[in-house]
């Protein structure tokens, strides 16, 4: 399926690319703005997504437009020039490009002290942003993670950075990029990494980690392990979860409440809130009131600072969360969620 204004958008994309070609003149390499690079990446994503569609192959105008895009992306190469501190666009036929490839060939044999990379157009820009733009992390958390032993430190530092980046992207309304990071976390660090990221973004782990800076290094790993045990019944609903994954969460949620676990929570954001509401309706019917009465229950149903862009409009994302807690330990976990120490 094409977006409604597809042809119009394609015309705009071709105009945008033609402007670059004009700007080049006889130059081999030109500097481009960050915004231009992002737009270039978006045009490339559209090109990649729709080039195999039947309508593109059968409609002469669209076919011509896609051929123009294909030629552009074959002949012109975007990049980041560390010396100029600028994004650039260069001709593939340029000596600069050929020299880069020759240099890269040499690097197969000899180690380079500088970190340079070659990647695909869409993801490479995300890498560059990650490499060049500092990620904002609270000082207390950096101090706590820095105390961890070698291997664990690398993993936790990376997870804290990626989770902070996800949060930043949510605040900027760049949900798709945030989800790319989340998927890569799952791919490298597995379910633990995903859980780390969810608990961090929802405030639990962030608040808890602030406290760790006062701890002796030898105790930190054990404290983190206990924290994850205590947070065992904090569930996160994602809109892309499969039916079996949702059923599993529903089953565990019900069991946790029936077993009177001290802290049980269900969290959802944006498109996932509808699913979470349905789960809550079912759970509330199934859990007897004598169990529910033993808990302090908190319901959150409100707009967050997170944003989403829909058709050029920026909208705030909604949070729907249900929390049941009891006893001192349950209250402590609730305070972590609220960012209170």
């Amino acid at each position: 399926m094409f977006p409604i204004s597809f042809s119009f958008e394609i015309t705009k994309a071709i105009e945008f690319l033609s402007n670059f070609v004009e700007k080049f003149g006889k130059n081999e390499i030109i500097e481009i703005e960050e915004k231009e690079l992002y737009n270039l990446s978006e045009v490339y994503s559209v090109f990649k997504k729709y080039r195999e569609e039947r309508v593109v192959k059968e409609n002469p105008e669209l076919k011509e437009a896609f051929e123009k895009m294909e030629n552009f992306f074959r002949e012109y190469i975007p990049g980041w020039d560390r010396e100029r501190k600028s994004y650039i666009l260069m001709r593939k036929s340029s000596t600069t490009f050929q020299n880069i490839i020759s240099d890269f060939l040499k690097f197969k044999k000899e180690k380079s002290k500088e970190l340079t990379f070659i990647s695909s157009l869409d993801t490479g820009i995300e890498y560059e942003e990650f490499k060049e733009k500092p990620t904002e992390i609270e000082k207390d958390i950096v101090e706590a993670v820095s105390k961890l032993p070698g291997d664990i430190r690398t993993k936790y530092f990376s997870l804290v950075t990626l989770s902070s980046r996800i949060e930043q992207l949510y605040l900027e309304g760049r949900i798709e990029k945030a989800e790319n990071i989340r998927n890569s976390i799952k791919s490298l660090y597995g379910e633990f990494g995903l859980r780390f990221s969810n608990l961090y973004q929802r405030g639990y782990l962030k608040t808890f980690m602030r406290l760790l800076k006062k701890e002796e290094p030898k105790n930190i790993v054990e404290k983190i392990k206990s924290f994850f045990d205590e947070a065992e019944f904090v569930f996160f609903i994602h809109k892309n979860m499969s039916i079996s994954e949702l059923e599993e969460i529903e089953r565990k949620l019900e069991m946790a409440l029936k077993n009177l676990n001290e802290y049980v929570a269900l969290h959802s954001l944006g498109g996932a809130t509808r699913i979470a509401r349905e789960i809550i309706i079912k759970i509330r019917k199934r859990i007897p009131s004598e169990i529910m009465n033993q808990y302090t229950t908190i319901k959150k149903d409100e707009k967050t600072e997170y944003k989403i862009r829909i058709n050029d409009k920026i909208m705030q994302i909604r949070d729907f969360s249900y929390i049941w807690y009891k006893n001192k330990r349950g209250r402590r976990m609730y305070r972590f969620f609220e960012g209170l120490m």
Partner: protein, 88 residues
């Protein structure tokens, strides 16, 4: 060399081959010198260009990575992560 490159799918395949690798029919990248699949520096898994569209080849004996989490892990190992203190 101080330039990072962001390539289209076709150009990326072409450059990977120019750098001494081949891509087998399943998409796995093979080192022509050793005739063995190239593995990610971080996860140690094979790199498949059809599945791992987030791949990057990083300078320094051609380190391959699969996605942004691996890139983050690599930058952390190399102490190259840029962190800014967040005001609370």
């Amino acid at each position: 060399m101080k330039i990072d490159l962001f390539l289209s799918e076709e150009n990326l395949k072409e450059i990977i081959e120019k750098l001494g690798y081949k891509i087998d029919e399943t998409g796995v990248i093979i080192d022509r010198e050793t005739n063995k699949p190239v593995k990610s520096e971080i996860s140690k898994e094979e790199i498949n260009i059809k599945k791992d569209w987030g791949i990057a080849i990083v300078s320094g004996s051609h380190v391959f990575i699969k996605n942004i989490a691996e890139f983050s892990h690599l930058l952390t190992e190399k102490k190259m992560l840029k962190i800014k203190e967040k005001q609370v």
